[in-house]
């Protein structure tokens, strides 16, 4: 029997994982979410910004990574709009600006912003996607207007009200990069932070996050939110609970199931080894 357990059909594991993910979606259990120091730094930096400060958000991800990164984007956007921070959106991934628009739509549908919805070119601008990966970041170090001659809607960037006085990173108070791979946080650190001394925080997928931890310690990153847990922590801090918090229950159950399987596997391994 234990031999069979060791060679369990992976589809059985899949069924358990699926149940652990789906069932909690219908439950309403409140969970206490502890905030990690890395996410706290992001919030503290945002909190330290004065009204009217300029926040650049780089949407470097596509739909597959959206479940982890979109809640982060929504939480940060809500905080920015609530506190009158000006948001500048760009994407080094072609799908990034589309994700940004979806996040803005989410903000607009929030009753909190019913009377005061974010207005284009007053509260935020979407400069769209630009190909060239890290070279785009390098170009932005010299001139935003030259790097992004037109915004997402095709309007010349120099005609935008919000772009007045915004030349390069020295005019931006804080950058938030939401990244699922290349180009992403590593490139922003290498170019925007190391070369142009910008202040940068990152939101990464859980898989990607361990790779950028060293940058937090070196002070090159002003905060890091990793995966769905990072999103839930951000939501808790900014006070807007969304999908990050909602799906934490599913993640809790899924982790528990995996741990149970690991324990069962090890138990079977030791029993069969003794035999």
């Amino acid at each position: 029997m234990f031999d069979k357990l060791l060679k369990i059909d992976r589809r059985i594991i899949f069924i358990f994982v699926a149940l652990a993910l789906i069932v909690p979606m219908f439950l309403t259990i409140t969970q206490h979410i502890s905030v990690s120091p890395e996410v706290q730094i992001i919030y503290d930096t945002l909190k330290g910004l004065q009204p009217g400060s300029k926040v650049l958000m780089a949407f470097d991800y596509d739909p597959p990574s959206a479940p982890e990164l979109q809640p982060m984007a929504v939480a940060i956007l809500k905080y920015c709009f609530k506190n009158n921070l000006k948001v500048y959106i760009i994407g080094l991934w072609p799908q990034g600006p589309m994700q940004a628009n979806m996040a803005i739509d989410n903000v607009i549908s929030d009753p909190t912003f019913k009377d005061n919805p974010p207005i284009y070119d007053k509260d935020y601008v979407n400069l769209g996607f630009m190909s060239g990966n890290e070279l785009v970041i390098q170009g932005m170090g010299s001139s935003f207007l030259h790097t992004f001659p037109r915004d997402y809607l095709g309007k010349p960037t120099h005609q935008l009200e919000m772009m007045k006085g915004v030349n390069n990173f020295s005019n931006i108070d804080f950058i938030v990069n939401l990244s699922a791979g290349y180009p992403g946080t590593v490139e922003w650190v290498l170019f925007a932070v190391d070369r142009f001394h910008a202040k940068l925080a990152a939101g990464n997928t859980a898989v990607q996050a361990p790779q950028v931890y060293p940058y937090v310690h070196a002070g090159q990153l002003s905060g890091l939110a990793g995966g769905l847990k990072g999103a839930a922590e951000l939501e808790k801090l900014v006070g807007f609970y969304g999908k990050g918090t909602k799906f934490m229950l599913s993640q809790s159950f899924a982790h528990m199931i995996v741990i149970v399987f690991i324990i069962v596997g090890n138990a079977a391994y030791f029993i069969t080894r003794k035999k």
């Binding site: 206490h32 995996v258 690991i262």
Partner: protein, 217 residues
């Protein structure tokens, strides 16, 4: 000459990239952008090469009734399904705008399919963990323990289970410690090794010592 020309181009471009990093003066300051633009143009044209190859291979399979040839029909159908609306029925250059046929396919076909593939990771992580995390050796046991703390510490239930422990020793804090210190130390070591490997490989390529990627010895 067939090999020498690519080697010469590699050497010139390689050294140009190195020089422009240290010399900010014109014309070196524009070289990186210029070369990268060329590269992007080449990449853009090369997509046709791949697309045509995909069609050729698939059509060959169908015409020869090779093994699993029906899949080739699906490939071609999928290719045409996105290419024709994108090129012909999506407003030309503004094909990505909301409401176009291309946008509809992107939102309703491409996005769900990509998300499904990515979501499968959750299942594969579970089955890989089940196989890999066995306390076979001391090192494997350490790995197993680290995985245990991080997996529990990364979800709220971890703190609930360890609420009896003093502050600073709860699951989430243990997970943070593992991620911040042992994990980061390992990452740094690997990254330093990788960086040196990249320098060494790049130098071999620029100097023409490594040429097997050109089909040579």
């Amino acid at each position: 000459m067939r090999r020498e020309i690519p080697l010469i181009i590699t050497a010139i471009v390689g050294f140009t990239y190195i020089i422009q990093f240290f010399v900010p003066h014109w014309p070196f300051n524009i070289l990186e952008g210029l070369l990268t633009s060329w590269m992007l143009i080449i990449f853009a044209f090369a997509i046709w090469l791949g697309a045509l190859n995909l069609l050729k291979v698939s059509l060959d399979k169908i015409s020869k009734r090779s093994r699993d040839w029906p899949y080739a029909i699906i490939t071609i159908a999928g290719f045409l399904m996105i290419a024709i609306p994108g090129f012909l029925f999506s407003g030309g250059r503004r094909f990505q705008d909301p409401g176009t046929a291309f946008d509809y396919i992107y939102q309703n076909v491409y996005s769900p399919l990509s998300s499904t593939m990515f979501a499968m990771l959750a299942f594969y992580v579970a089955s890989a963990s089940y196989r890999a995390f066995r306390a076979r050796t001391k090192e494997a046991t350490l790995l197993l323990l680290a995985a245990f703390f991080v997996m529990l510490g990364r979800v709220p239930i971890g703190d609930v289970l360890s609420s009896f422990l003093p502050e600073g020793y709860r699951m989430s804090q243990m997970a943070d410690w593992i991620m911040n210190y042992p994990q980061t130390a390992g990452q740094r070591a690997i990254m330093i090794g990788i960086a040196l490997g990249i320098v060494s490989t790049s130098l071999r390529l620029i100097l023409g010592i490594e040429r097997s990627h050109l089909g040579g010895e």
